[in-house]
Amino acid sequence: NDEEDGEKDKDTGETADIGGDERTLTIAVGSDMVTFDVHDHINTSTEAIHVNMFNYLVKRDNETGEILPDLAESFENIDDLTWEFKLKEGVTFHNGDELTSADVKYSLERVATGEELKDYPNYNQIKEVEILDDYRFRIITHEPEPVLLNRISRIASAILPSNYIEENGFDHFLQNPIGTGPFQFVEWVRDDRIVFEVYDDYFDGKNEEWDQLVFRVIPENSTRVSELLTGGADIAVNIPPADWDRVADHENTYLAQETSNRTLMIFLRSTEGYPTSDQRVREALDLAIDNQAIIDSLLGGAGVPTITRVAPGNFGYAEHLYDTYNYDLERAKELLAEAGFPDGFEMTLHSPRGRYLQDAEVAEMVAGMWAQIGVTANIEFMEWSNFVELRNANENEDAYLLGLGNSMFDAANALDWYSADRFEGETDYRNDEVEELLAAAMTNMDLEERNEQYIKAQELLAEDAAHIVLHMESINIGVSEELDYTPTMDEMIYVDTITRK
């Protein structure tokens, strides 16, 4: 199909216009943005919109995982607790104010101290921001913080205009937000659209491709796909597997896929008394699952089987545990027999429904695979909020299905799910060796050594079959044939990277 692209312009030109004029980019998203208070949401899809009007001090290269300057021109580690930054000069907010260290201090300290803010838990490691001059400042942490740079390259570290907010109040800012990004805010019609226009004085150069940027909120999958197909949207995110072929085969559109940083896992309960407290049982359950078969039949082949949560591009990535999986029915049966369950056993698998790509279907398939080794898994599907409650109340049974993202791109975040204290009463998994490694790595500023510690921990966890890691999900975006767009692993939609062919 790809070769024919050029000739199709005539057909597509007409329909594309329904969405707006030529220089407007319309992106259909599944849920509305939550707020412009960048510190008070945990919503990846909101951040995906925000990145077009705000900037962080640094940005992560999606290819290499390297941390690159963004608003900051340079940065350096002074000591265990201190990082010094220098800002680029001439960066302006959309109201023309110049970006200074004061803005950084205001932004980061707001979230680092604002207990009622939803991102507070991820920023309370920062003690203060010390201003050296208009362009130079230091970030001081409470404890050694090896992942500080990762932290401030993501959600809630956008730099806000402190003067503007002080003059007009935060509510005014929420109604009329301004940032430093390539696009500036025009309007937000809730549950309908968020409109931006290009910012001429963007410090990294004005976006010449688009004058206007519209995010349309279309919750119903098939409607979103229909909008894409009819040209009502140029890009549509979260295309359900059901429609992949339709989008890919349609003459006006193609499907752009990328592996995300989200892992689908089955958490097992190691609490005394549960069959899954026996390592052999856990391993058997893992061995019984044919990860690739799930990916092939439910995810149209898009997705990467894995044994670890830490994917390429993340700090602490263990290559030999990625893009592979264990599958051996015979061994699984043996292990079960050894563990004292020659005839299998009955267990409960909780699963959310509609939260992750094909989550319910995956759960059903997993149960089907377990049935082959004699394990009967009764699936209890739950609506998301009930599922959250169940976990908070530690009422989970043998196993539950969960998909975990990691916007920090650091193994610390990923492996914290095995720390014993945090999951006492919930999974009750404890591996003292892993505990030690994680604790050491947490504040270890020697990156090399830290990397080793995490890889070691992952190996131990794999051996122990602590939880079952199924696969990395794919990001599935439908794109108009007229556009070039490659999604990124972090699930952000960087409009600067979207171009007309």
């Binding site: 059901a242 429904r353 509609g354 089907g368 699936i379 599907f381 609506e383």
Partner: protein
Amino acid sequence: MPQPSIMQGPARKNSKLKRWLKLLFRSKTGTVGLVIVISIVIIAIFAPWLAPHEPNVIDPVNTHKPPVWMEGGDRENLLGTDNLGRDILSRIIYGSQISLLVGISSVVLAGIIGILVGLFTGYFGGFLDTFFMRLADSFLAIPNILLALVMLGVFGPGLFTLILVLGVTNWVQYARIIRGEVLSIKERDFVRAAKSIGVKHRNIIFSHLYPNVISSFIVVATLSVASTIILESSLSFLGLGIQPPQVSWGTILSDGRDYLATSWWLATFPGLAITITVLGIIFLGDWLRDILDPRSVK
């Protein structure tokens, strides 16, 4: 004169049944309705014997198989398979169980509450009545589906909660109807006659009022079974309906909605099943209204 016995009862009942059947077959739509409803009830009862496959068995190889008459379809799965390769016909057959169960039991539950409240408030009036009517107004001001949504969100979806929720959201409508009927019937002379005889209130309510209001309840209730089946499918659409592995028509239908453009049969056949059932129930309900209407009893 030979002593007539009270035991003539059954014989007369029989002739009543005959009269009804006669009336039934005179009404074309009534007949159609009854046939549909009986068939569906039979299908629901005998689902395990009628269904060619287990409803939940996944077959990753045979997903999205079209119905038999289309290219690619075969006899194994007459109505095709869904995204997990499950047999749609079997799922629809099994789905009838839950759909009917939800429809009927929630209506019965709502009916019991509604009838009792309606009878007592209508008969006694006074403060209790005022209170219940305000309560009824409140319930009526909240759309059914909204109340169900909130309640299911609160208690979590599931068969039992669903029945409970639908029952609780619907009782008001019956209470109102029954109360209205009671208000008019209690002014009728036979109730006043009973009062003047000194019959106890409880007996008046249950032996005079109840038999006279029950028919209008039955008429409304039949139709509610239909609306409830539809409501359940709407809740499934919102993710709050019946949860797998249990199957209802609503869940099959809403599971299939992502595939309407590619595998239309996933959502269309359960939709058709709902349509036919509703049609049957409505026809039956209309017929019931005609024959249970006291004006038609001549």
